[in-house]
């Protein structure tokens, strides 16, 4: 088979042997599980349980928030102790909403039922996978059901299964392929059927001959003529989805485009395994394989219930005393964790214990000498030093023009830079600033719209009010004229009762004193209306003097505030 090549890449020490010496061990269920609700790209699932509820293993405890989200399940049976904020395995060290479960030790499953995807529509199958919480287990945790549309023409040329696992230290996919190749292939069959894929290529870096053999055997055992296991050259980041697609098919999927539009789609082997478990066994995603490696005495792979504390997991591999940090993921793209007391989540493919010796702090940063090493190493064919320059100077627009968002943060550029510049840190910084700016901009646009809408409404209301007032005044004028007519009739009868009122209401006029002006009548009418409208609030009767005093004070303050707030408007309502 013809293989293609991607530019750049690096070949660091792989350190993979240590953790592949022993088979996958099952990490025991802990007493307390902290299950974060937000474990995938997309919206945070709504909690379905509250403190005190009993839950079964595999029970849905968080419902997907819309389609761009993925459900969350209890990893074992027990009682919900709390739904509260807990620290997340995230470089920020911030907390997020978690369901805390106290296990009852019985590990009691929900009723498990396989899902016959052949007798359901594609949409139903996607919903099923969403509710089974299946997400990409390569580390990106993108909801799998969102990648399951075949794209143009309702079929896919090539389905790619990613078993490359190019990051140093990580071996969870390697071991999964060695031990559970058949299950993976069953998952692949489902994917192939759902995506109507013409052929399936399983890409595995050639430093994993046992995994290649196991997968080849499973493909042959299944008699799948349309599947091929391909050993690809070992070079970081050959396991990046875009790089693997390029190596296997020669197709380059640009940033921001759906790969199905190019006739390919790529899933991780772990994801294929999870799909098999969800569909064929009726088991939602509640556990995953995690490599524990680095500065530990017994590096190994574990099958871990999601929500298990990392500390508990790490202890099983006996971290060495000089361990000074915990990294989730590999040494090239992983993140330092703020604490050991965080749960294993769907994105946890590896826990790496670090030490000064294993990962020495970088030598002092020097200025960029434009040597171009980074550009040679960049698998995305970017000019990292230009991106660095613009990100550092906070010229984000330029950074975007130089395709900042095509950067996959693989770390190759930082790896080779002779000036020891933490290049990727600058890109992470620039990207999050740009995202923040964009959301601020969106908020400002919304506020502008709201504000303009309100202004329009106020203008309209003012107009309407003016119209109403005019109408009312017109009506009042008519009434007053009538009243006047009556009054003049009455005066002729020489009953001067109304006269003093009229007098006090008008200026000492030259006109006949007994004749009230139309204005005065209008004012009187308005006062009358106002009196009629004044309703005594029900809760102001039978008040103690203290309460009355308080109300008076409040009224006074209100008046003052009104005067301040609307100096040009009369107190309204």
């Amino acid at each position: 088979m013809q293989l293609f090549d991607f530019n750049g890449g690096v070949t660091p020490d792989y350190h993979k042997e240590a953790s592949t010496q022993s088979p996958i061990a099952v990490s025991p269920a802990p007493t307390f599980l902290v299950i974060p609700l937000h474990q995938s790209i997309g919206g945070t699932p709504r909690p379905l349980v509250s403190a005190g509820d009993r839950v079964l293993k595999g029970q849905r405890i968080g419902a997907a928030d819309g389609d761009m989200s993925s459900a969350i399940h209890a990893s074992t049976s027990g009682h919900v102790v709390a739904v509260e904020m807990r620290r997340m395995p995230h470089p920020s060290g911030l907390s997020a909403l978690c369901v805390v479960i106290k296990a009852d030790g019985r590990d009691e499953w929900i009723a498990r039922q396989s899902f016959d995807y052949r007798s359901h529509t594609a949409a139903e199958t996607r919903d099923y996978l969403r509710d089974a919480g299946v997400v990409g287990l390569g580390g990106a945790v993108f909801p799998t059901h969102l990648k399951m549309s075949p794209g143009k023409g309702d079929k896919l040329d090539t389905l790619i299964i990613n078993g490359a696992e190019c990051e140093p230290f990580i071996t969870c996919d390697d071991l999964l392929m060695r031990e559970r190749a058949e299950a993976i292939i069953q998952g692949v069959v489902i994917l192939r059927d759902l995506l109507a894929a013409g052929r399936v290529l399983v890409g595995i870096e050639d430093n994993k001959p046992q995994a290649v053999a196991a997968m080849t055997a499973a493909v042959q055992a299944g008699g799948h003529q349309d599947m091929a296991v391909v050993a690809v050259p070992t070079r970081y980041p050959a396991g990046g989805a875009k790089q693997l697609i390029r190596v296997l098919t020669g197709i380059e999927v640009p940033h921001g485009k759906r790969s199905t539009d190019y006739g390919v789609q790529c899933f991780n082997v772990g994801t294929a395994h999870a799909i098999h478990e969800a569909i064929n066994l009726g088991q939602p995603l509640i556990s995953r394989i995690v490599t524990v490696a680095g500065n530990v005495a017994a590096p190994r792979n574990y099958e871990v219930l999601l929500g298990t504390s990392m500390e508990a997991l790490l202890t099983q591999s006996q971290p060495l005393p000089d361990t000074d940090r915990l990294i989730m993921g590999g040494p090239m793209m992983g993140v330092s964790l703020p604490s050991k007391d965080v749960p294993v989540v769907k994105a946890t493919n590896c826990i790496l214990a670090g030490s000064k010796k294993l990962f020495p702090p970088p030598p002092p940063e020097m200025p960029c000498i434009r040597c171009g090493e980074c550009a040679t190493a960049c698998p995305a064919d970017l000019q990292p030093f230009e991106l660095y320059w613009f990100s550092r100077a906070k010229i984000f627009g330029k950074a975007q023009e130089y395709h900042l968002f095509d950067c996959i943060e693989c770390g190759c550029c930082s790896y080779v830079c002779p000036s020891h510049i933490p290049l990727v840190d600058y890109y992470r910084f620039a990207k999050s600033e740009i995202w923040a700016n964009e959301s601020e901009k969106a908020a400002a646009d919304q506020a502008r719209e709201q504000y303009e809408f309100r202004q329009l409404r106020e203008a309209r209301e003012a107009q309407e009010k003016a119209a109403r007032l005019a109408a009312r005044t017109a009506a009042g004028r008519a009434a007053a004229t009538n009243a006047l007519a009556v009054a003049s009739d009455a005066t002729s009868d020489a009953t001067p009762a109304a006269a003093p009122v009229a007098k006090s209401a008008t200026t000492p006029a030259t006109e006949p004193a007994q004749t009230p002006s139309p204005q005065a009548a209008l004012i009187a009418a308005a006062l009358e209306r106002a009196r009629a409208q004044q309703v005594q609030p029900a809760n102001t009767t039978n008040l103690t003097p203290e309460q009355q005093a308080e109300i008076a004070a409040i009224e006074a303050r209100r008046a003052q505030i009104r005067a301040q707030a609307h100096p040009h408007l009369p107190p309204d309502d």
Binding site: H38, L94, F429, D445, Q450, Y451, R558, I561, A565
Partner: protein, 185 residues
């Protein structure tokens, strides 16, 4: 000679007519400069700049009647962007208009709210919902944090709560350039 002059004059007239026609025909609605300035302003609509909202301030700046350093929510970055756009000298935020504060949202203590609707009238972006004598509440995503609702509340039940960082809004920090050894005391 005369012919040449005539031709020139004729040309000028024709061109003038075309330009005049184009000016009428393709007139841009609104003032694009005001729009551009308004796009930079944070749309908090708080009035701290001394204008009844961001747009009026933008219009005043476009006419050269207002300085570029009067908007506290826009902060330093906003001033820099305005300086850039308008080709004016950067200057720090003028103290008389206020200080840059971290963004906060209004939260109504629903126990104490008496339903007076004053805050609804004060809110420039309709971020408060509620009816007369009903409890009021703030729609957080719409609140710009302008604080206009705070002074009008007769029972002081509106608090400005700073927006806490969460995992989605968390940002990677600017990498520290550690070339110079930090002097420790």
């Amino acid at each position: 000679m005369l012919a040449a002059l005539l031709v020139m004059a004729l040309g000028a007239v024709v061109l003038g007519a075309v330009l005049g026609f184009a000016a009428v025909k393709f007139r841009v609605e609104g003032d694009p400069l005001t729009e551009k300035i308004d796009a930079i302003l944070p749309q908090t609509q708080c009035g701290q700049c001394g204008f009844p909202g961001c747009k009026p301030y933008a219009a005043a700046m476009a006419k050269g009647e207002a300085d570029i350093n009067q908007c506290p929510p826009g902060g330093d970055e906003g001033i820099r962007k305005l300086a850039d756009l308008l080709g004016r000298e950067y200057k720090p935020l003028s103290a008389e208009h206020g200080v840059e504060k971290p963004k906060a949202l209004a939260v109504i203590d629903e126990q104490r709210c008496i339903g007076c609707t004053l805050c609804i009238q004060a809110c420039p972006v309709d971020a408060i919902v509620g009816a007369a004598k009903q409890m009021h509440t703030v729609i957080a995503v719409q609140c710009t944090g302008c604080e206009l609702c705070v002074p009008v509340c007769p029972v002081d039940c509106i608090d400005m709560v700073p927006v806490a960082e969460n995992i989605t809004t968390w940002k990677w920090k600017y990498p520290v350039v550690a070339i110079k050894p930090v002097t420790t005391h």
